[in-house]
């Protein structure tokens, strides 16, 4: 299996950003997509959405990024957004310990609601935001250790305000999402092959359509 899909395939990758309220999910998304920072974003209610075309390993892919409300109580609405995600970004604020401690429950909640095919290997990327501020509470090493303990989640320390590591983190997010999507497709193709043989029906090829 792996990444041996046809060159003509155009990939739409769904990425969802989770994390406590105020850690900078909207700011990270906007810094990555629009290359700017604003202190005037409204609180996200429900969900927000942006897209960006990126080049990953010489392949053009479209990232569809879902930004969510941070208040825990909005988790109950999550199902609608979590399903079908190719990568989940877990965000915390390096200056607020509690936002880091909450990552475990965000991850669990995602796995329950999205119920991916292979939960143990579903790609997460962890971002510690606001490194431009002085009052750090979460040590990089602690975060790194936690990430290692959860099947080696990639970890980045970022600043949406100063555009530190944002590009790099999202490249890793794209790569992880592409890997996930490719595996999903290989799985689906294997599955549909079986159907094809049994029912003798031809499966429509979706070579030039968006796979989302």
């Amino acid at each position: 299996m792996g990444m041996n899909f046809t060159q003509a395939t155009w990939f739409c990758l769904d990425v969802i950003i989770l994390g406590n309220s105020g850690v900078g999910k909207t700011s990270l998304m906007n810094q990555f997509v629009n290359k700017k920072f604003s202190s005037q974003y409204k609180a996200t209610i429900g969900a927000d959405f942006l897209t960006k075309e990126v080049i990953v390993d010489d392949r053009v892919v479209t990232l569809q990024i879902w930004d969510t409300a941070g208040q825990e109580r909005f988790q109950s609405l999550g199902v609608a957004f979590y399903r079908g995600a190719d990568c989940c970004v877990l965000c915390y604020d390096v200056t607020v310990n509690k936002t880091f401690e909450a990552l475990g429950s965000w991850r669990d909640e995602f796995l329950i609601q999205a119920s991916p095919r292979d939960p143990d290997n579903f790609p997460f990327v962890c971002l510690g935001n606001k490194v431009d501020l002085d009052q750090r509470q979460v040590l990089a090493q602690d975060a790194q250790e936690w990430c290692e303990s959860k099947n080696s989640i990639s970890h980045f320390e970022t600043s949406a305000k100063e555009a530190i590591n944002v590009e790099k983190a999202f490249l890793e997010i794209s790569r992880a999402a592409l890997r996930q999507e490719a595996e999903d497709q290989a799985y689906t193709n294997d599955y549909s092959d079986t159907i094809k043989i049994n029912s003798n029906q031809s499966q429509p090829q979706q070579a030039d359509s968006c796979q989302c």
Partner: protein, 480 residues
């Protein structure tokens, strides 16, 4: 005198042309104007229904002969009143007062147009060609004509013109509303009241009207607010201390009840509610009021607590009234069925409303509904924000305020109608969009949304409170 009457229904525009009895329209002799006789569609009141034969239709009248002379003069709403009256009292559109033009059209003597070109074409090729050639020859009235022929888009413009005229006479408007206010509940189903609401309430009377519209079922008083507010401040301090001692390893003596812990969320949202207005940001004049109001609500309803979205509702009220009154309105607002269901954050309770929206949306705009379905665009991606904030986050402030004019008076049904109205307003462009374009558009509505255009689309959405209740019952999630 020749009058062109455009009768519009919910889904399509029908054009019928009538010859109006001369004496009835004497007051229009040298004018050209579109008027809208809106007939209330929002209420299932048979009494109201019977009053008008043109029920559910928007009627637009234009004086052809005067227009073709190019001397159409603007005139006031009161000038139009006699015509409006005569139109609405007609028992049958094809009755004795209004004769269908088709039969009268052959009688060219009756066409009082001074423009021979126009008349000639009209005789030869019928009405459509006449309109086309008319557009060419009378540049000054191009816009009016294209609006009439486009049907749907003419009304917002007419509404805007009428509203601007009315705004010139604010005091008369305020007086009209003040006379109405004591009887608002009884009269809100009447056509002229519906029209007053659609037209937007005068700014200086908005506070009174919203308060009256929202009512005070909970009997919350400003004194109660004062009491709860001081209680809330003590509670906030106690909980903060408890949290600190907890972090230091000391067992806290005070515990958060219900959703009181959500108090912490409030300060995160203060600067992120209407950030561009500056009023509510740190140091802004309403920053303290917003914080106090929300904290007091958490202590008043610890079972509900603070949920993101509430801050936008509170701001809408604080922009129109003082803190204590805003609290009274806020509690009653959140007590309304739709908001109460949504803010409990239990999908089983809010789902029926979302289904009712989807159902109405499908009936009203089947093509767009299908289009979005085929793109796999879920309305979940925007409907929560729309309804939780009653459009105050999603729409520009002036538009949101007009929506609230309707919502405070007519309740939940107006929110669902607005949601479908927004879909309708942008349906043309949405139909050409792909998945990502639709998703981007719906999560970031245009900030130049025209309130009149939106209201125009809202009024075409056919959803009565009775119907909404039936839909909710139909979509109710059975208890486990």
């Amino acid at each position: 005198m020749l009058l062109r009457v455009v009768v519009s229904r919910t889904a399509e525009v029908q054009t019928e042309t009538f010859q109006l009895a001369g004496d009835k329209t004497a007051s229009l002799a040298s004018h050209s104007e579109e008027i809208n006789v809106f007939v209330n569609d929002a209420f299932d009141d048979p009494a109201t229904r019977r009053k008008s034969s043109l029920h559910g239709r928007s009627v637009s009248v234009s004086n052809l002969s005067a227009a073709s002379q190019g001397n159409g003069l603007p005139h006031t709403a009161s000038d139009l009143a006699p015509l409006t009256k005569s139109m609405s009292t007609v028992t049958s559109p094809k009755g004795h007062m209004l004769a269908p033009l088709k039969s009268a059209a052959t009688d060219t003597k009756r066409v009082q147009s001074s423009d021979s070109t126009g008349r000639k074409v009209f005789q030869e090729n019928g009405l459509d060609n006449f309109i086309d050639s008319f557009k060419k020859i009378s540049g000054g009235f191009n816009s009016t004509w294209s609006k009439i022929t486009q049907g749907h888009s003419k009304t917002p413009e007419a509404m805007r013109v009428m509203r601007e005229k009315r705004n010139e006479d604010q005091t008369a408007q305020v007086k009209k509303w003040d006379t109405l206010l004591p009887h608002l509940d009884a009269k809100k189903g009447e056509r002229y009241v519906v029209e007053m609401v659609y037209m937007g309430v005068p700014g200086s009377a908005r506070e009174r009207i919203w308060k009256k519209g929202l009512g005070n079922y909970l009997q919350v008083t400003p004194v109660l607010y004062e009491a709860f507010q001081s209680h809330a401040q003590e509670r906030v301090t106690a909980l903060k201390e408890a949290q600190l001692s907890d972090e230091e390893g000391v067992k806290p003596t005070v515990r958060a009840i219900g959703n009181e812990a959500s108090l912490k969320q409030i300060h995160l949202d203060l600067n992120r509610t209407f950030p561009l207005l500056e009023f509510f940001r740190t140091g802004g004049p309403y920053h303290g009021s917003l914080r106090r109001l929300l904290e007091t609500y958490v202590c008043y309803r610890p079972d509900v607590g603070y949920v993101q979205g509430m801050s936008f509702l509170a701001c809408m009220l604080l922009l129109n009234m003082d803190e204590a009154d805003a609290f009274v309105c806020f509690t009653n607002l959140l007590n309304r069925p739709l908001l109460s269901a949504f803010y409990q954050m239990e999908p089983a309770k809010s789902q029926p409303y979302i289904d009712a929206f989807a159902y109405t949306f499908r009936n009203h705009l089947p093509r767009l509904y299908q289009h979005m379905r085929s793109l796999h665009v879920s309305h979940h991606m925007f409907i929560h924000e729309w309804l939780l904030t009653c459009f105050s986050k999603s729409c520009p402030l002036d538009t949101a305020t007009r929506v609230w004019d309707g919502f405070t008076i007519y309740g939940d049904v107006f929110l669902i109608r607005t949601a479908v109205g927004i879909m309708s307003l942008y349906s043309k462009q949405l139909l050409t969009y792909e998945f990502d374009e639709v998703a981007l558009f719906m999560t970031k509505l245009p900030q130049d949304m025209d309130p009149d255009a939106l209201i125009h689309h809202i009024r075409r959405v056919n959803l009565t409170p009775t119907r909404l209740a039936a839909l909710l019952a139909m979509f109710q999630v059975p208890a486990k």
